[in-house]
């Protein structure tokens, strides 16, 4: 498997009234071609910030993000080196991410023109891309407001595809959509990843959809990844109490009256993260050492990595139950 993206010790800071807030506080991850990596966590955990840093919309304060052999630098007014075109992003809000005053065709063609096509060829190719994402070819002459949320998200995806990406960061691409469109757009993304052998970071707060379409899952809490492993490992036998809490909170639409479990408390303010393990104030299984020592990442015998004092490097995962 070919690695196309490598994030090591990435730190992203925001300025808040002169103070530095670490929204992403040291993240390592890799993405392979043809793979969907799900990135989950509650709002405020830094997953969107990380996604933006990966494509270069935000600057990293420390650490490295390497895409296809070269380091990603923050976007500037100048033109990016050509091969970074292949790293694209799809945003959550299909209403805010398209220009309302330009025709669909022109917006998709931009990416192709930057890639060296003539305007005329680009418009033709834009039609092919629209067809690829399940929209009619004549949509090039229409404006964003003529389309529904699901269709607009397809247009955003077509626009990303115009740059022939090898990696896409999709930030909550289906969260704003209706139930019917959610499944359709999720399927479209899965199809495209397979067809083009792309890598995709799929950012979502919805673990049940991530579980269906991803190969691996990274669980983020307050700027750090707490557990990363295959979908089966994470879903069937989570080894971090936070992962377990996220799964237990999902309601079951099975008509049995199952009551999901809540996780009291909120994600703490990243300006003053808790000492030791960042999850310890909310962790139902916290031990005294959790408040003092920050747990290092440890790789378990099944290959997953987790940052929790309950787990031991190289051992079988200790199964976690809460509540």
């Amino acid at each position: 498997m070919k690695e196309i993206l490598n994030v090591s010790n990435a730190v992203v800071e925001y300025d808040r009234q002169g103070l530095k807030v670490r929204a992403v506080a040291g993240v390592d991850l890799t993405l392979n071609a043809g793979e969907i990596l799900g990135l989950v966590g509650e709002s405020g955990c830094g997953k969107s910030t990380l996604g933006k840093a990966i494509v270069g919309i935000l600057k990293t304060a420390h650490g490295e993000i390497v895409f296809d052999g070269s380091q990603v630098k923050k976007l500037t007014r100048g033109q990016r080196p050509k091969h970074f075109r292949n790293l694209q992003m799809v945003f959550q809000d299909p209403y805010g991410s398209l220009n309302p005053r330009r025709k669909i065709g022109a917006q998709i063609a931009d990416g192709l023109v930057v890639g060296g096509s003539s305007r005329k060829d680009a418009l033709h190719e834009a039609q092919d891309l629209l067809e690829k994402v399940g929209l009619p070819r004549n949509a090039i002459d229409r404006f964003p407001h003529e389309f529904s949320g699901g269709q607009r998200q397809r247009i955003s995806i077509a626009r990303a595809l115009a740059a022939a990406p090898t990696a896409i960061v999709a930030d909550e691409p289906i969260s704003a959509l209706d139930t019917s469109s959610q499944a359709q757009v999720a399927n479209l993304l899965v199809n495209l990843v397979e067809e083009y052998d792309m890598g995709m970071v799929f950012i979502s707060h919805d673990l049940s959809i991530v579980r269906r379409i991803s190969d691996r899952v990274a669980v983020m809490y307050l700027g750090k990844i707490v557990e990363i492993g295959t979908v089966d490992q994470i879903w069937n036998n989570p080894s971090h109490p936070y992962t377990r809490a996220l799964i237990s909170a999902i309601p079951h639409a099975d008509g049995t009256g199952f009551m999901p479990q809540d996780l009291p408390g909120d994600v703490p303010n990243p300006m003053s993260p808790p000492s030791g393990c960042r999850f310890h104030p909310r962790c139902p299984l916290a031990m005294p050492e959790c408040a003092e020592i920050e747990p290092a990442f440890r790789t378990l015998s099944d290959g997953r990595s987790v940052a929790c004092h309950l787990q031991t490097e190289g051992s079988e995962p200790v199964s976690i139950s809460i509540g």
Partner: protein, 334 residues
């Protein structure tokens, strides 16, 4: 007698292309102490149904039919009668507590306002009730919370405050429109637990409106599914989710990513989806509005409005084909 009996409710809204029916000939009931779920995609008319109960339809919106609440007809109420009803007998909580709470007023002002209006109680008595309400919805440190502004709380806490406000005058019916959609699952679970608890303590009747069948599964006794302004299926929560009979309900449930550990579904990444999109207001197809997306549609679906078919006392569908009945599956096998 049920607490709420809605009969043949039709809501017409003014659109750019003339009047259009957002809710069409809808009939349903909510019993005393019952949790009814209304599910549907955006544009299915579920929110308009709720707003018509409160007399809060948008400008130029009209409702016809009958809404019997607690033994009296309320659809013909005057503005003044609606004002006495809202907050006192029927209360509503909305999706985004940041927009339903006033950002510049303290929690105390907002929590005591309608108590003082509806109940004519003194300031001190209202304050005392507000403190009790805040502890009912499990806000830590109610004293401090009263002095705070909504922005000082997280989304989950704000929704709890909105629930406290809704409960202040002990309404008979609570309408919750997407109460947890804007929240994280971990916080959502807390709100679901709270609503469940309130129900036990207060014998509250609740109408929960959401597109999330998982939320309805945890909370409700019955579910009504809406499509393009009409009811397509209503049944007990367990019947409807486990044995859906309408092709649209079946499609919605099949499109869920699922929560079980069955290996077959984790191997395949594709979700089942209903092709096409829900129709827009003013553009609802003729006959059964779902016929354009339905794999089982017959000629009659296009021309005739479906009649209700009673499957059991509590379960009915609006589908002349009923493709998932025992009879249909025997015929299919032949």
């Amino acid at each position: 007698m049920d607490l709420l009996t809605v009969k043949n409710l039709t809501v017409t809204l003014a659109t750019g292309r003339g009047d259009a029916a957002a809710v069409r000939d809808l009939s349903f009931t909510v019993g005393h102490g019952e949790f009814l779920g209304i599910a549907g995609e955006s544009g299915s008319g579920k929110t308009m149904t709720a707003l018509s109960l409160l007399g809060l339809l948008p400008h130029k919106g009209r409702a016809t039919g009958s809404i019997n609440f607690d033994g009296r007809e309320i659809l013909t109420s005057s503005k003044r009668e609606y004002r006495d009803l809202r907050g006192k007998e029927i209360a509503m909580i909305f999706q985004d507590p940041m927009t339903s709470l006033h950002p510049m007023l303290t929690v105390e002002v907002q929590l005591t306002e309608h108590l003082r209006h509806h109940r004519k109680v003194s300031k001190d008595a209202a304050r005392q009730s507000a403190l009790e309400l805040l502890s009912t919805v499990k806000i830590p440190d109610p004293e401090a919370a009263l002095r705070a502004h909504p922005s000082q709380f997280s989304g989950g806490m704000r929704q709890r405050i909105a629930i406290a406000m809704a409960l202040a005058c002990e309404p008979k019916l609570l309408i919750a429109d997407e109460p947890t959609t804007a929240l994280d699952v971990t916080v959502q679970a807390g709100i679901l637990k709270l609503l469940h608890q309130l129900r036990k303590e207060r014998n509250l009747s609740v109408m929960v409106i959401t597109h999330d069948l998982g939320v309805l599964s945890s909370l409700t006794d019955r579910i009504m599914i809406m499509y393009a302004g009409s009811e397509v299926e209503t049944g007990l929560t367990s019947d409807l989710l486990q044995r859906p009979r309408h092709p649209y309900t079946k499609g919605l449930i099949a499109a869920l990513p699922g929560h079980t550990n069955d290996a077959k579904s984790s191997q395949t990444k594709r979700l089942l989806s209903i092709e096409g999109m829900p129709p827009e207001l003013g553009n609802f197809p003729s006959g059964c509005a779902f016929h354009t997306r339905c794999n089982y549609a017959i000629a009659a679906c296009k021309s005739e409005l479906p009649e209700s078919i009673q499957i059991s006392d509590s379960h009915r569908i609006f589908c002349p084909v009923d493709p998932f009945s025992a009879k249909a599956s025997i015929e299919g096998a032949k």
